[in-house]
Symmetry: C2
Subunit: 229 residues, 2 copies
């Protein structure tokens, strides 16, 4: 196999991951629209997408592992491949969470919209911008964009905390609507997890681009020895 | 590097992952005890463990990637290494979830125990047995034990659904205790996610042992081409 061929296969790995990310991004976005606009068809469409995302995850893992088997990879190729394996896992989970939101949207289809539901698009829009940033940083190998994603995670946590405080007052005022409120809590919890996955992707991108592991903000992976070459 | 040396390094990868799993298992178990027995010291101990788990994650990734760089790996080694990378990510998340439970336990330290808290150990004990099964199956390369973990996931989902139903009636009866109830919901949600991660590990073990991808229960990773050797 020529080196050029390996480069082509690495490009293909990236474009497979990109194709999957476009699908997942659309699923999350549609799930929120389905919830806010009570659009049943859109919720069903998201649930159909889930299977396609699952198949893509398998195909991407398969492709990545077959590239490792070629054993013609340099350090930077290895970082690209192992980061792609990790990002693939994150994307599949994000797709699952989009489906979770779509299921809640479906179950809330005929219920009157209560006040806390109005706050959800604001949280969703921040989470979606993190998601987009994480994937853009992967495609463009852009460490600065990836670092911006990490910075946004705290804002999502704050929005979620204030949402839960408001929701718990709402439930005290309207005990008859507690079931609906719990469904909205699941939606916001899913959005928070999508934000966490975006953060994880941004960390993987920083590792891939810079060769530096920014997770857990420690300098050296202490206490374990690493093998001699 | 001799082949025997590679085997030693692969054994070391497994034992690093095992060491981490022992720590994570203890953290999850202690977080539940801290919650049920209102043990503040134990909750603090779990929160201290989190940092150690994070460092182990970095060290294991580092070791696994350095083994890939040796480029003397056969297909079954590759499956072991890539599965270990995935299991590593799952374990770190489980450690985070143990810390989440410990934080809720700390915040509920001085509150009188309410009825739904009593159900939590039953759910926890099932989840912990899944976790143990997943890790045992990795150590023993035992596909049967791994398959048993997959089968238990539905039971956890059922327990969680009935917990949420009971909890929502409880909140309607006792609106003054809604905040406490929401904390318990976070605990049970965390346990459910630990069960999900256990399932993911069991799937990775099946891939590693059998070379067959059982995720999403499809036969072939359709629609994408894979590179020719």
């Amino acid at each position: 196999m020529q080196l050029r061929r390996l480069d082509q296969e690495l490009e293909k790995l990236k474009s497979m991951l990109l194709e999957m990310s476009v699908l997942v991004e659309a699923a999350v976005s549609s799930s929120i629209t389905a919830l806010v606009e009570q659009d049943r068809n859109l919720a069903e469409e998201v649930l159909r997408t889930e299977k396609r995302v699952n198949q893509m995850e398998l195909a991407i893992d398969h492709h990545a592992i077959s590239l490792l088997a070629l054993q013609q990879t340099m350090a930077s190729d290895l970082r690209l491949i192992t980061s792609s394996l990790k990002i693939n896992t994150q994307l599949e989970r994000m797709g699952d969470l989009g489906a979770t939101i779509a299921r809640e949207a479906r179950d809330l289809m005929d219920e009157p919209i209560v006040e806390p539901r109005i706050d959800i698009p604001r949280i969703a829009s921040l989470v979606q911008s993190m998601m987009r940033g994480a994937l853009d940083s992967y495609v463009a190998r852009d460490a600065e964009v990836a670092a911006g994603v990490l910075a946004a995670d705290d804002a999502v946590d704050r929005l979620r905390t204030s949402f839960v405080t408001e929701l718990s007052s709402f439930m005290q005022r309207e005990p008859g609507k507690i079931r609906q409120a719990l469904r909205l809590l699941t939606v916001v919890g899913s959005l928070e997890r999508i934000a966490d996955h975006s953060t994880n992707i941004a960390e993987d991108v920083l590792f891939y681009v810079r060769g530096v592991d920014v997770r857990h903000r420690v300098e050296t992976p202490a206490n374990f020895d690493t093998p001699a070459k």
